[in-house]
Protein backbone atom coordinates (compact mmCIF):
# COMPACT_ATOMS: atom_id res chain seq x y z
CA UNK A 1 0.00 0.00 0.00
CA UNK A 2 1.26 3.51 -0.73
CA UNK A 3 2.51 5.60 2.15
CA UNK A 4 0.24 8.44 1.11
CA UNK A 5 -2.82 8.67 3.36
CA UNK A 6 -5.66 7.07 1.48
CA UNK A 7 -8.74 9.12 1.01
CA UNK A 8 -11.08 7.83 3.67
CA UNK A 9 -14.03 5.77 2.73
CA UNK A 10 -17.35 7.61 3.15
CA UNK A 11 -19.22 5.12 5.31
CA UNK A 12 -22.48 7.06 5.35
CA UNK A 13 -22.56 7.18 1.55
CA UNK A 14 -21.75 3.47 1.35
CA UNK A 15 -24.46 2.58 3.86
CA UNK A 16 -27.11 4.25 1.69
CA UNK A 17 -26.42 1.62 -0.99
CA UNK A 18 -27.41 -1.20 1.36
CA UNK A 19 -31.20 -1.22 1.87
CA UNK A 20 -31.06 -3.73 4.72
CA UNK A 21 -28.91 -1.47 6.88
CA UNK A 22 -31.77 0.99 7.30
CA UNK A 23 -34.11 -1.56 8.86
CA UNK A 24 -34.46 -2.02 12.59
CA UNK A 25 -34.39 -5.22 14.62
CA UNK A 26 -35.74 -6.39 18.00
CA UNK A 27 -38.25 -3.67 18.86
CA UNK A 28 -36.93 -0.82 16.79
CA UNK A 29 -33.22 -1.05 17.48
CA UNK A 30 -30.74 0.24 14.90
CA UNK A 31 -29.20 -2.73 13.09
CA UNK A 32 -25.52 -3.11 13.92
CA UNK A 33 -24.43 -5.83 11.53
CA UNK A 34 -21.13 -7.33 12.63
CA UNK A 35 -21.36 -10.73 10.96
CA UNK A 36 -19.92 -10.09 7.51
CA UNK A 37 -17.39 -12.86 8.04
CA UNK A 38 -20.36 -15.24 7.79
CA UNK A 39 -22.08 -13.42 4.96
CA UNK A 40 -22.05 -9.84 3.73
CA UNK A 41 -25.01 -7.60 2.99
CA UNK A 42 -25.73 -6.67 -0.62
CA UNK A 43 -25.77 -3.22 -2.20
CA UNK A 44 -28.63 -2.17 -4.44
CA UNK A 45 -26.26 -2.30 -7.44
CA UNK A 46 -25.83 -6.06 -7.00
CA UNK A 47 -29.53 -6.69 -6.48
CA UNK A 48 -30.34 -4.56 -9.54
CA UNK A 49 -27.86 -6.42 -11.72
CA UNK A 50 -29.33 -9.78 -10.79
CA UNK A 51 -32.87 -8.53 -11.25
CA UNK A 52 -32.01 -6.97 -14.62
CA UNK A 53 -30.62 -10.27 -15.85
CA UNK A 54 -33.83 -12.05 -14.92
CA UNK A 55 -36.03 -9.31 -16.34
CA UNK A 56 -34.20 -8.88 -19.65
CA UNK A 57 -31.82 -11.70 -20.52
CA UNK A 58 -32.80 -14.86 -18.69
CA UNK A 59 -32.01 -18.11 -20.50
CA UNK A 60 -29.88 -21.22 -19.96
CA UNK A 61 -26.33 -20.22 -20.87
CA UNK A 62 -24.09 -22.19 -23.25
CA UNK A 63 -27.15 -23.87 -24.71
CA UNK A 64 -29.54 -22.87 -27.44
CA UNK A 65 -29.10 -20.43 -30.28
CA UNK A 66 -31.94 -18.01 -29.65
CA UNK A 67 -31.38 -14.36 -28.82
CA UNK A 68 -31.95 -14.69 -25.09
CA UNK A 69 -29.52 -17.60 -24.89
CA UNK A 70 -26.91 -15.47 -26.67
CA UNK A 71 -27.47 -12.53 -24.34
CA UNK A 72 -27.43 -14.70 -21.25
CA UNK A 73 -24.23 -16.41 -22.35
CA UNK A 74 -22.59 -13.06 -23.12
CA UNK A 75 -23.60 -11.73 -19.70
CA UNK A 76 -22.28 -14.83 -17.97
CA UNK A 77 -18.92 -14.76 -19.76
CA UNK A 78 -18.59 -10.99 -19.35
CA UNK A 79 -19.14 -11.53 -15.62
CA UNK A 80 -16.36 -14.10 -15.62
CA UNK A 81 -14.00 -11.54 -17.17
CA UNK A 82 -14.89 -8.90 -14.59
CA UNK A 83 -14.44 -11.32 -11.69
CA UNK A 84 -11.19 -12.64 -13.13
CA UNK A 85 -9.71 -9.18 -13.52
CA UNK A 86 -10.78 -8.36 -9.94
CA UNK A 87 -8.20 -10.92 -8.77
CA UNK A 88 -5.67 -10.25 -11.52
CA UNK A 89 -6.51 -13.42 -13.45
CA UNK A 90 -7.60 -14.17 -16.99
CA UNK A 91 -11.14 -15.43 -17.53
CA UNK A 92 -10.08 -18.89 -18.69
CA UNK A 93 -8.70 -19.53 -15.21
CA UNK A 94 -11.90 -18.79 -13.32
CA UNK A 95 -14.28 -21.68 -12.58
CA UNK A 96 -17.68 -20.92 -11.07
CA UNK A 97 -18.79 -23.17 -8.23
CA UNK A 98 -21.61 -23.04 -5.69
CA UNK A 99 -19.30 -21.52 -3.07
CA UNK A 100 -15.75 -21.81 -1.76
CA UNK A 101 -16.58 -25.08 -0.02
CA UNK A 102 -17.49 -26.63 -3.35
CA UNK A 103 -14.39 -25.09 -4.96
CA UNK A 104 -12.13 -26.81 -2.41
CA UNK A 105 -14.06 -30.04 -2.77
CA UNK A 106 -13.62 -29.76 -6.53
CA UNK A 107 -9.85 -29.90 -6.13
CA UNK A 108 -9.98 -32.66 -3.51
CA UNK A 109 -12.32 -34.82 -5.59
CA UNK A 110 -10.44 -34.17 -8.83
CA UNK A 111 -7.37 -35.52 -7.01
CA UNK A 112 -9.41 -38.43 -5.75
CA UNK A 113 -10.55 -39.17 -9.31
CA UNK A 114 -6.96 -38.87 -10.51
CA UNK A 115 -5.88 -41.43 -7.91
CA UNK A 116 -7.67 -44.19 -9.82
CA UNK A 117 -6.87 -42.88 -13.30
CA UNK A 118 -4.03 -43.30 -15.78
CA UNK A 119 -0.42 -42.34 -14.91
CA UNK A 120 -0.76 -39.22 -17.07
CA UNK A 121 -2.56 -37.68 -14.12
CA UNK A 122 0.20 -38.53 -11.67
CA UNK A 123 0.76 -34.91 -10.63
CA UNK A 124 -2.71 -34.96 -9.02
CA UNK A 125 -2.43 -38.43 -7.52
CA UNK A 126 -2.05 -39.06 -3.81
CA UNK A 127 -1.86 -42.34 -1.99
CA UNK A 128 -0.19 -44.20 0.90
CA UNK A 129 3.10 -42.54 1.81
CA UNK A 130 1.99 -39.15 0.48
CA UNK A 131 1.16 -36.28 2.80
CA UNK A 132 -1.29 -33.40 2.73
CA UNK A 133 -0.58 -30.44 5.00
CA UNK A 134 -3.23 -28.09 6.40
CA UNK A 135 -3.27 -25.83 9.46
CA UNK A 136 -4.93 -26.01 12.84
CA UNK A 137 -6.75 -22.74 12.19
CA UNK A 138 -8.63 -23.94 9.10
CA UNK A 139 -12.32 -23.48 8.59
CA UNK A 140 -13.94 -26.93 8.35
CA UNK A 141 -14.33 -26.27 4.61
CA UNK A 142 -10.56 -26.41 4.15
CA UNK A 143 -10.03 -29.28 6.58
CA UNK A 144 -12.75 -31.92 6.16
CA UNK A 145 -12.33 -32.29 2.35
CA UNK A 146 -8.62 -33.07 2.90
CA UNK A 147 -9.37 -35.46 5.76
CA UNK A 148 -11.74 -37.24 3.42
CA UNK A 149 -9.25 -37.30 0.55
CA UNK A 150 -6.72 -38.88 2.89
CA UNK A 151 -9.26 -41.46 4.03
CA UNK A 152 -10.16 -42.37 0.45
CA UNK A 153 -6.59 -42.60 -0.80
CA UNK A 154 -4.51 -43.66 2.19
CA UNK A 155 -2.53 -40.41 2.25
CA UNK A 156 -1.58 -38.87 5.60
CA UNK A 157 -2.94 -35.55 6.89
CA UNK A 158 -0.55 -33.27 8.78
CA UNK A 159 -0.92 -29.72 10.03
CA UNK A 160 0.82 -26.56 11.15
CA UNK A 161 0.04 -25.85 14.81
CA UNK A 162 -1.37 -22.52 16.00
CA UNK A 163 0.45 -20.54 18.68
CA UNK A 164 -1.16 -19.00 21.77
CA UNK A 165 -1.09 -15.66 19.95
CA UNK A 166 -3.11 -17.10 17.10
CA UNK A 167 -0.33 -17.24 14.52
CA UNK A 168 0.86 -20.25 12.56
CA UNK A 169 3.85 -21.97 14.11
CA UNK A 170 6.18 -22.39 11.13
CA UNK A 171 9.19 -23.50 13.16
CA UNK A 172 8.98 -27.05 11.75
CA UNK A 173 8.07 -26.08 8.21
CA UNK A 174 11.16 -27.79 6.81
CA UNK A 175 10.10 -31.12 8.27
CA UNK A 176 6.35 -30.68 7.97
CA UNK A 177 6.45 -29.79 4.28
CA UNK A 178 8.79 -32.39 2.81
CA UNK A 179 9.34 -34.46 -0.30
CA UNK A 180 6.29 -36.60 0.57
CA UNK A 181 4.01 -33.54 0.66
CA UNK A 182 1.65 -33.34 -2.34
CA UNK A 183 -0.69 -30.55 -1.20
CA UNK A 184 -0.42 -27.63 1.21
CA UNK A 185 -3.85 -26.10 1.89
CA UNK A 186 -4.35 -23.10 4.17
CA UNK A 187 -6.39 -19.99 4.81
CA UNK A 188 -5.15 -16.64 3.56
CA UNK A 189 -6.88 -15.04 6.54
CA UNK A 190 -8.37 -16.89 9.51
CA UNK A 191 -12.13 -16.49 9.79
CA UNK A 192 -11.90 -16.56 13.59
CA UNK A 193 -8.57 -15.00 14.56
CA UNK A 194 -8.24 -12.51 11.72
CA UNK A 195 -4.65 -13.67 11.26
CA UNK A 196 -3.26 -13.10 7.78
CA UNK A 197 -0.96 -16.02 7.04
CA UNK A 198 2.47 -15.73 5.38
CA UNK A 199 1.55 -17.04 1.94
CA UNK A 200 4.98 -16.34 0.49
CA UNK A 201 6.92 -18.31 3.12
CA UNK A 202 4.66 -21.33 2.93
CA UNK A 203 4.43 -21.28 -0.85
CA UNK A 204 8.19 -21.00 -1.21
CA UNK A 205 8.65 -24.16 0.85
CA UNK A 206 5.91 -25.98 -1.07
CA UNK A 207 7.66 -25.07 -4.34
CA UNK A 208 10.91 -26.57 -3.07
CA UNK A 209 9.23 -29.95 -2.63
CA UNK A 210 6.87 -29.72 -5.61
CA UNK A 211 3.63 -29.66 -3.61
CA UNK A 212 0.45 -28.01 -4.88
CA UNK A 213 -0.70 -24.95 -2.89
CA UNK A 214 -4.40 -24.43 -2.24
CA UNK A 215 -5.35 -21.08 -0.70
CA UNK A 216 -8.70 -20.51 1.01
CA UNK A 217 -9.23 -16.84 0.18
CA UNK A 218 -12.78 -16.53 1.57
CA UNK A 219 -11.73 -13.93 4.12
CA UNK A 220 -9.14 -12.14 2.00
CA UNK A 221 -10.58 -11.51 -1.47
CA UNK A 222 -13.57 -9.59 0.00
CA UNK A 223 -11.40 -7.46 2.29
CA UNK A 224 -8.05 -6.66 0.69
CA UNK A 225 -6.48 -6.35 -2.75
CA UNK A 226 -5.66 -9.87 -3.94
CA UNK A 227 -3.67 -10.55 -7.08
CA UNK A 228 -3.19 -14.18 -8.02
CA UNK A 229 -0.10 -13.27 -10.03
CA UNK A 230 1.61 -11.96 -6.91
CA UNK A 231 0.47 -14.80 -4.66
CA UNK A 232 1.91 -17.56 -6.86
CA UNK A 233 -0.35 -20.28 -5.43
CA UNK A 234 -1.86 -23.10 -7.50
CA UNK A 235 -5.49 -22.90 -6.45
CA UNK A 236 -7.48 -20.14 -4.80
CA UNK A 237 -11.07 -20.37 -3.61
CA UNK A 238 -13.58 -17.75 -2.47
CA UNK A 239 -17.32 -17.23 -2.07
CA UNK A 240 -19.43 -14.53 -3.70
CA UNK A 241 -21.80 -14.01 -0.79
CA UNK A 242 -19.02 -12.85 1.54
CA UNK A 243 -18.04 -10.04 -0.87
CA UNK A 244 -21.36 -8.27 -1.48
CA UNK A 245 -22.37 -10.79 -4.15
CA UNK A 246 -25.29 -13.21 -4.30
CA UNK A 247 -25.49 -16.56 -2.58
CA UNK A 248 -24.94 -19.66 -4.65
CA UNK A 249 -21.79 -18.62 -6.47
CA UNK A 250 -18.15 -19.16 -5.61
CA UNK A 251 -14.90 -19.21 -7.53
CA UNK A 252 -12.09 -21.64 -8.00
CA UNK A 253 -9.11 -19.99 -9.63
CA UNK A 254 -6.18 -21.99 -10.90
CA UNK A 255 -3.42 -21.63 -13.44
CA UNK A 256 -4.68 -22.48 -16.91
CA UNK A 257 -2.13 -25.22 -17.38
CA UNK A 258 -3.27 -26.98 -14.18
CA UNK A 259 -6.96 -26.72 -15.03
CA UNK A 260 -6.25 -28.20 -18.46
CA UNK A 261 -4.55 -31.18 -16.89
CA UNK A 262 -7.04 -31.78 -14.09
CA UNK A 263 -9.85 -34.36 -14.34
CA UNK A 264 -13.43 -33.24 -13.60
CA UNK A 265 -15.29 -33.55 -10.31
CA UNK A 266 -18.99 -33.22 -11.16
CA UNK A 267 -19.92 -34.64 -14.55
CA UNK A 268 -22.99 -34.18 -16.75
CA UNK A 269 -24.33 -31.66 -19.24
CA UNK A 270 -22.17 -29.00 -20.89
CA UNK A 271 -18.88 -30.17 -19.41
CA UNK A 272 -18.32 -32.74 -22.15
CA UNK A 273 -16.43 -32.88 -25.43
CA UNK A 274 -18.09 -35.90 -27.08
CA UNK A 275 -20.45 -38.38 -25.41
CA UNK A 276 -20.87 -42.00 -26.52
CA UNK A 277 -22.93 -44.64 -24.77
CA UNK A 278 -19.86 -46.13 -23.12
CA UNK A 279 -17.47 -43.20 -22.69
CA UNK A 280 -17.09 -39.43 -22.94
CA UNK A 281 -14.45 -36.77 -23.38
CA UNK A 282 -14.23 -33.49 -21.56
CA UNK A 283 -14.68 -29.86 -22.55
CA UNK A 284 -11.83 -27.44 -22.06
CA UNK A 285 -11.75 -25.60 -18.72
CA UNK A 286 -13.51 -23.73 -17.23
CA UNK A 287 -16.57 -25.51 -18.77
CA UNK A 288 -15.08 -28.89 -17.79
CA UNK A 289 -15.76 -28.01 -14.17
CA UNK A 290 -19.20 -26.40 -14.63
CA UNK A 291 -21.61 -29.28 -15.25
CA UNK A 292 -25.30 -28.44 -15.50
CA UNK A 293 -26.99 -25.11 -16.19
CA UNK A 294 -24.82 -22.60 -14.35
CA UNK A 295 -25.79 -19.75 -12.00
CA UNK A 296 -25.64 -16.98 -14.58
CA UNK A 297 -27.75 -14.41 -12.67
CA UNK A 298 -25.51 -14.88 -9.65
CA UNK A 299 -22.38 -14.51 -11.78
CA UNK A 300 -23.76 -11.24 -13.09
CA UNK A 301 -24.52 -10.17 -9.51
CA UNK A 302 -21.02 -11.08 -8.36
CA UNK A 303 -19.51 -9.11 -11.24
CA UNK A 304 -21.57 -6.12 -10.09
CA UNK A 305 -20.17 -6.65 -6.59
CA UNK A 306 -16.63 -6.64 -7.99
CA UNK A 307 -17.39 -3.43 -9.89
CA UNK A 308 -18.81 -1.89 -6.71
CA UNK A 309 -15.72 -2.82 -4.69
CA UNK A 310 -13.35 -1.72 -7.47
CA UNK A 311 -15.20 1.59 -7.68
CA UNK A 312 -14.39 2.24 -4.04
CA UNK A 313 -10.97 0.65 -4.27
CA UNK A 314 -9.89 -2.46 -2.38
CA UNK A 315 -6.99 -0.58 -0.82
CA UNK A 316 -9.49 1.84 0.74
CA UNK A 317 -11.74 -1.01 1.88
CA UNK A 318 -8.73 -2.65 3.53
CA UNK A 319 -7.59 0.62 5.12
CA UNK A 320 -11.09 1.25 6.48
CA UNK A 321 -11.33 -2.21 8.01
CA UNK A 322 -7.83 -1.83 9.39
CA UNK A 323 -8.90 1.30 11.27
CA UNK A 324 -12.05 -0.40 12.56
CA UNK A 325 -10.07 -3.42 13.70
CA UNK A 326 -7.53 -1.27 15.49
CA UNK A 327 -10.33 0.63 17.19
CA UNK A 328 -12.19 -2.57 18.12
CA UNK A 329 -9.09 -4.19 19.59
CA UNK A 330 -8.69 -1.08 21.76
CA UNK A 331 -12.30 -0.49 22.74
CA UNK A 332 -13.51 -4.07 23.11
CA UNK A 333 -10.19 -5.22 24.54
CA UNK A 334 -10.50 -2.51 27.20
CA UNK A 335 -13.77 -3.85 28.58
CA UNK A 336 -12.86 -5.57 31.79
CA UNK A 337 -13.43 -9.31 31.66
CA UNK A 338 -12.95 -9.44 27.87
CA UNK A 339 -10.12 -11.40 26.32
CA UNK A 340 -9.35 -11.12 22.61
CA UNK A 341 -8.74 -14.48 20.93
CA UNK A 342 -6.22 -13.89 18.18
CA UNK A 343 -3.51 -11.32 17.52
CA UNK A 344 -3.98 -8.14 19.56
CA UNK A 345 -1.87 -6.00 17.26
CA UNK A 346 -3.00 -5.17 13.74
CA UNK A 347 0.08 -6.39 11.87
CA UNK A 348 -0.95 -9.06 9.33
CA UNK A 349 -4.41 -9.03 10.77
CA UNK A 350 -7.82 -8.57 9.19
CA UNK A 351 -11.20 -7.48 10.50
CA UNK A 352 -12.45 -10.53 12.39
CA UNK A 353 -12.27 -9.91 16.13
CA UNK A 354 -13.14 -12.89 18.32
CA UNK A 355 -13.25 -12.75 22.08
CA UNK A 356 -14.46 -14.40 25.25
CA UNK A 357 -16.09 -12.65 28.19
CA UNK A 358 -15.49 -13.97 31.70
CA UNK A 359 -18.40 -15.97 33.10
CA UNK A 360 -20.73 -15.36 30.16
CA UNK A 361 -21.16 -18.11 27.61
CA UNK A 362 -21.03 -16.82 24.00
CA UNK A 363 -24.61 -17.96 23.38
CA UNK A 364 -25.83 -15.88 26.30
CA UNK A 365 -23.67 -12.94 25.29
CA UNK A 366 -24.95 -13.14 21.72
CA UNK A 367 -28.50 -13.11 23.01
CA UNK A 368 -28.03 -9.83 24.88
CA UNK A 369 -26.11 -8.31 21.97
CA UNK A 370 -28.94 -9.31 19.65
CA UNK A 371 -31.42 -7.69 22.01
CA UNK A 372 -29.44 -4.46 21.52
CA UNK A 373 -29.46 -4.86 17.73
CA UNK A 374 -25.83 -5.98 17.61
CA UNK A 375 -25.62 -9.03 15.34
CA UNK A 376 -22.49 -11.11 15.83
CA UNK A 377 -21.58 -14.75 15.39
CA UNK A 378 -21.27 -17.04 18.40
CA UNK A 379 -19.96 -20.59 18.55
CA UNK A 380 -16.92 -22.23 17.02
CA UNK A 381 -17.37 -20.56 13.60
CA UNK A 382 -16.68 -23.84 11.78
CA UNK A 383 -13.19 -23.96 13.28
CA UNK A 384 -13.76 -26.46 16.06
CA UNK A 385 -10.26 -27.98 16.25
CA UNK A 386 -8.73 -24.53 16.60
CA UNK A 387 -11.02 -23.66 19.50
CA UNK A 388 -10.13 -26.97 21.11
CA UNK A 389 -6.43 -26.21 20.65
CA UNK A 390 -6.87 -22.84 22.37
CA UNK A 391 -8.83 -24.48 25.18
CA UNK A 392 -12.06 -22.64 24.41
CA UNK A 393 -15.48 -24.15 23.70
CA UNK A 394 -16.78 -21.18 21.77
CA UNK A 395 -16.14 -17.52 21.08
CA UNK A 396 -18.06 -14.44 20.07
CA UNK A 397 -16.93 -12.91 16.79
CA UNK A 398 -17.44 -9.43 15.41
CA UNK A 399 -16.44 -9.13 11.76
CA UNK A 400 -16.34 -5.88 9.83
CA UNK A 401 -16.86 -4.67 6.31
CA UNK A 402 -16.86 -1.44 4.38
CA UNK A 403 -20.32 -0.44 5.69
CA UNK A 404 -19.36 -0.63 9.37
CA UNK A 405 -18.55 2.48 11.35
CA UNK A 406 -16.81 3.29 14.62
CA UNK A 407 -20.31 3.78 16.06
CA UNK A 408 -20.92 0.08 15.36
CA UNK A 409 -17.83 -0.80 17.38
CA UNK A 410 -18.97 1.49 20.20
CA UNK A 411 -22.38 -0.20 20.16
CA UNK A 412 -20.66 -3.57 20.46
CA UNK A 413 -18.58 -2.52 23.47
CA UNK A 414 -21.60 -0.98 25.17
CA UNK A 415 -23.71 -4.09 24.54
CA UNK A 416 -20.99 -6.27 26.08
CA UNK A 417 -21.17 -4.10 29.23
CA UNK A 418 -24.96 -4.43 29.17
CA UNK A 419 -24.59 -8.21 29.08
CA UNK A 420 -22.24 -8.10 32.05
CA UNK A 421 -24.78 -6.04 33.97
CA UNK A 422 -27.61 -8.34 32.92
CA UNK A 423 -25.84 -11.48 34.11
CA UNK A 424 -24.38 -9.76 37.16
CA UNK A 425 -20.79 -10.45 36.15
CA UNK A 426 -19.81 -6.82 35.57
CA UNK A 427 -16.52 -6.07 37.28
CA UNK A 428 -16.14 -2.61 38.81
CA UNK A 429 -16.68 0.02 36.13
CA UNK A 430 -13.00 0.78 35.82
CA UNK A 431 -13.11 1.11 32.08
CA UNK A 432 -16.23 3.25 31.85
CA UNK A 433 -14.47 6.50 32.68
Amino acid sequence: MSTRELERLDVEAVRKDFPILSRTVRDGRRLVYLDSGATSQKPRQVLDAEREFYERHNAAVHRGAHQLAEEATDAYEAARETIASFIGASSGEVVFTKNATEAINLVAYAMSNAATAEPALSRFQVGPGDEIVVTEMEHHANLVPWQQLCQRTGATLRWFPVTEEGRLDLSDIGELVNERTRVVAFAHQSNVLGTVNPVETITARAREVGALVVLDACQSVPHMPVDVGELDVDFLAFSGHKMLGPNGIGVLWSRRELLEAMPPFITGGSMIGVVHMDHSTWAEPPQRFEAGVPMAPQAVGLAAACDYLSGIGMDRVAAHEHRLTEYALDVVGAVEGVRIVGPTETVDRGGAVSFVVDDIHPHDLGQVLDDRGVEVRVGHHCAWPMHRKLGIVATTRASFYLYNSVEDVDALAEAIRDAQRFFGTRPKDKDSA
Binding site: H361, H363, D364, G379
Partner: protein, 157 residues
Protein backbone atom coordinates in the same frame (compact mmCIF):
# COMPACT_ATOMS: atom_id res chain seq x y z
CA UNK B 1 -37.50 -6.15 27.11
CA UNK B 2 -37.80 -9.60 25.56
CA UNK B 3 -34.63 -10.76 27.26
CA UNK B 4 -36.34 -10.92 30.63
CA UNK B 5 -38.98 -13.19 29.18
CA UNK B 6 -36.26 -15.60 28.18
CA UNK B 7 -33.88 -15.31 31.10
CA UNK B 8 -36.43 -15.86 33.86
CA UNK B 9 -34.98 -15.60 37.35
CA UNK B 10 -35.62 -19.28 37.87
CA UNK B 11 -33.40 -20.09 34.87
CA UNK B 12 -30.59 -17.87 36.09
CA UNK B 13 -30.87 -19.44 39.56
CA UNK B 14 -30.49 -22.92 38.18
CA UNK B 15 -27.59 -21.74 36.01
CA UNK B 16 -25.69 -20.23 38.94
CA UNK B 17 -26.52 -23.06 41.34
CA UNK B 18 -27.20 -26.20 39.33
CA UNK B 19 -29.01 -29.03 41.11
CA UNK B 20 -27.78 -32.62 41.19
CA UNK B 21 -24.70 -31.80 39.11
CA UNK B 22 -21.75 -34.20 39.04
CA UNK B 23 -21.44 -37.76 37.75
CA UNK B 24 -22.39 -40.53 40.16
CA UNK B 25 -22.01 -44.31 40.27
CA UNK B 26 -23.52 -46.78 39.86
CA UNK B 27 -25.67 -46.09 36.86
CA UNK B 28 -27.62 -48.05 34.25
CA UNK B 29 -27.20 -45.89 31.18
CA UNK B 30 -25.00 -43.00 30.08
CA UNK B 31 -25.20 -40.68 27.09
CA UNK B 32 -22.87 -38.00 25.79
CA UNK B 33 -24.48 -35.33 23.62
CA UNK B 34 -22.92 -32.40 21.80
CA UNK B 35 -24.55 -29.39 20.22
CA UNK B 36 -22.67 -29.24 16.91
CA UNK B 37 -23.37 -25.55 16.36
CA UNK B 38 -21.57 -24.37 19.49
CA UNK B 39 -19.70 -27.34 20.94
CA UNK B 40 -21.66 -27.40 24.20
CA UNK B 41 -21.78 -30.84 25.70
CA UNK B 42 -23.36 -32.94 28.40
CA UNK B 43 -22.60 -36.38 29.81
CA UNK B 44 -25.66 -37.69 31.60
CA UNK B 45 -26.25 -40.87 33.63
CA UNK B 46 -29.50 -42.50 34.64
CA UNK B 47 -29.98 -44.94 37.52
CA UNK B 48 -33.25 -46.88 37.57
CA UNK B 49 -35.01 -48.94 40.25
CA UNK B 50 -37.15 -51.79 38.85
CA UNK B 51 -40.94 -51.39 39.14
CA UNK B 52 -43.38 -53.86 40.71
CA UNK B 53 -42.74 -56.49 38.06
CA UNK B 54 -39.01 -56.46 38.84
CA UNK B 55 -38.20 -55.30 35.31
CA UNK B 56 -36.39 -52.22 34.04
CA UNK B 57 -39.26 -50.99 31.93
CA UNK B 58 -41.60 -48.01 31.72
CA UNK B 59 -42.73 -48.65 35.30
CA UNK B 60 -39.20 -48.41 36.67
CA UNK B 61 -38.42 -45.47 38.92
CA UNK B 62 -35.76 -42.93 38.02
CA UNK B 63 -33.62 -43.24 41.14
CA UNK B 64 -30.99 -40.74 40.02
CA UNK B 65 -29.95 -38.51 37.14
CA UNK B 66 -26.38 -37.25 37.37
CA UNK B 67 -24.51 -35.20 34.81
CA UNK B 68 -21.46 -33.23 33.90
CA UNK B 69 -21.84 -30.48 31.35
CA UNK B 70 -20.50 -27.33 29.92
CA UNK B 71 -22.49 -24.78 28.04
CA UNK B 72 -24.71 -21.73 28.08
CA UNK B 73 -27.16 -20.75 30.79
CA UNK B 74 -30.11 -22.24 28.91
CA UNK B 75 -28.58 -25.70 28.45
CA UNK B 76 -27.21 -25.75 32.00
CA UNK B 77 -30.41 -24.60 33.68
CA UNK B 78 -32.56 -26.87 31.56
CA UNK B 79 -30.56 -29.94 32.60
CA UNK B 80 -30.68 -28.88 36.25
CA UNK B 81 -34.47 -28.46 36.10
CA UNK B 82 -34.74 -31.84 34.40
CA UNK B 83 -33.11 -33.60 37.34
CA UNK B 84 -35.49 -31.88 39.80
CA UNK B 85 -38.48 -32.91 37.74
CA UNK B 86 -37.58 -36.48 36.91
CA UNK B 87 -35.75 -37.98 39.88
CA UNK B 88 -38.24 -40.10 41.80
CA UNK B 89 -40.70 -40.39 38.92
CA UNK B 90 -41.36 -43.41 36.71
CA UNK B 91 -39.81 -43.70 33.27
CA UNK B 92 -43.30 -43.38 31.75
CA UNK B 93 -43.88 -40.12 33.65
CA UNK B 94 -40.47 -38.91 32.54
CA UNK B 95 -41.26 -39.59 28.89
CA UNK B 96 -44.55 -37.67 29.21
CA UNK B 97 -42.67 -34.74 30.74
CA UNK B 98 -40.12 -34.89 27.93
CA UNK B 99 -42.96 -34.79 25.38
CA UNK B 100 -44.56 -31.81 27.12
CA UNK B 101 -41.23 -29.99 27.25
CA UNK B 102 -40.43 -30.73 23.59
CA UNK B 103 -43.89 -29.48 22.61
CA UNK B 104 -43.35 -26.28 24.59
CA UNK B 105 -39.99 -25.72 22.87
CA UNK B 106 -41.62 -26.07 19.46
CA UNK B 107 -44.46 -23.68 20.29
CA UNK B 108 -42.73 -20.52 19.00
CA UNK B 109 -43.76 -18.67 22.14
CA UNK B 110 -47.46 -19.35 21.57
CA UNK B 111 -47.82 -22.57 23.53
CA UNK B 112 -49.88 -23.05 26.68
CA UNK B 113 -47.40 -24.91 28.84
CA UNK B 114 -48.66 -27.95 30.75
CA UNK B 115 -47.90 -26.57 34.21
CA UNK B 116 -48.76 -29.79 36.00
CA UNK B 117 -46.27 -31.78 33.99
CA UNK B 118 -43.57 -29.13 33.65
CA UNK B 119 -43.52 -27.24 36.95
CA UNK B 120 -40.31 -25.07 36.92
CA UNK B 121 -39.68 -26.01 33.30
CA UNK B 122 -42.49 -23.67 32.18
CA UNK B 123 -39.93 -20.92 32.70
CA UNK B 124 -38.36 -22.02 29.40
CA UNK B 125 -41.42 -20.95 27.40
CA UNK B 126 -39.60 -17.75 26.37
CA UNK B 127 -36.78 -19.77 24.82
CA UNK B 128 -39.18 -21.12 22.21
CA UNK B 129 -39.26 -17.66 20.60
CA UNK B 130 -35.58 -18.00 19.71
CA UNK B 131 -35.18 -20.92 17.29
CA UNK B 132 -31.39 -20.87 17.63
CA UNK B 133 -31.66 -21.59 21.36
CA UNK B 134 -34.15 -24.46 21.32
CA UNK B 135 -31.33 -26.97 20.84
CA UNK B 136 -29.66 -25.53 23.94
CA UNK B 137 -32.78 -26.14 26.03
CA UNK B 138 -33.20 -29.66 24.67
CA UNK B 139 -29.57 -30.79 24.98
CA UNK B 140 -29.89 -32.37 28.44
CA UNK B 141 -33.34 -33.77 27.70
CA UNK B 142 -32.17 -35.57 24.57
CA UNK B 143 -29.24 -36.99 26.51
CA UNK B 144 -31.65 -38.18 29.21
CA UNK B 145 -33.86 -39.90 26.63
CA UNK B 146 -30.81 -41.60 25.15
CA UNK B 147 -29.46 -42.67 28.56
CA UNK B 148 -32.83 -44.12 29.57
CA UNK B 149 -33.08 -46.00 26.31
CA UNK B 150 -29.62 -47.47 26.97
CA UNK B 151 -30.67 -48.42 30.52
CA UNK B 152 -33.68 -50.31 29.18
CA UNK B 153 -31.62 -51.91 26.39
CA UNK B 154 -29.09 -53.11 28.91
CA UNK B 155 -31.78 -54.96 30.80
CA UNK B 156 -32.98 -56.60 27.61
CA UNK B 157 -29.57 -58.05 26.73
Amino acid sequence: MQLDAMYQEIILDHYRNPHNKGLRDPYDGEAHHINPTCGDEVTLRVTLTPGDGGELDEKATIADVSYDSMGCSISQASTSVLTDLLIGRTVADGMRTLDAFTELMQSKGKGEPDEDALDDAVAFAGVSQYPARIKCALLGWMAWKDAVSKSLDKEGV
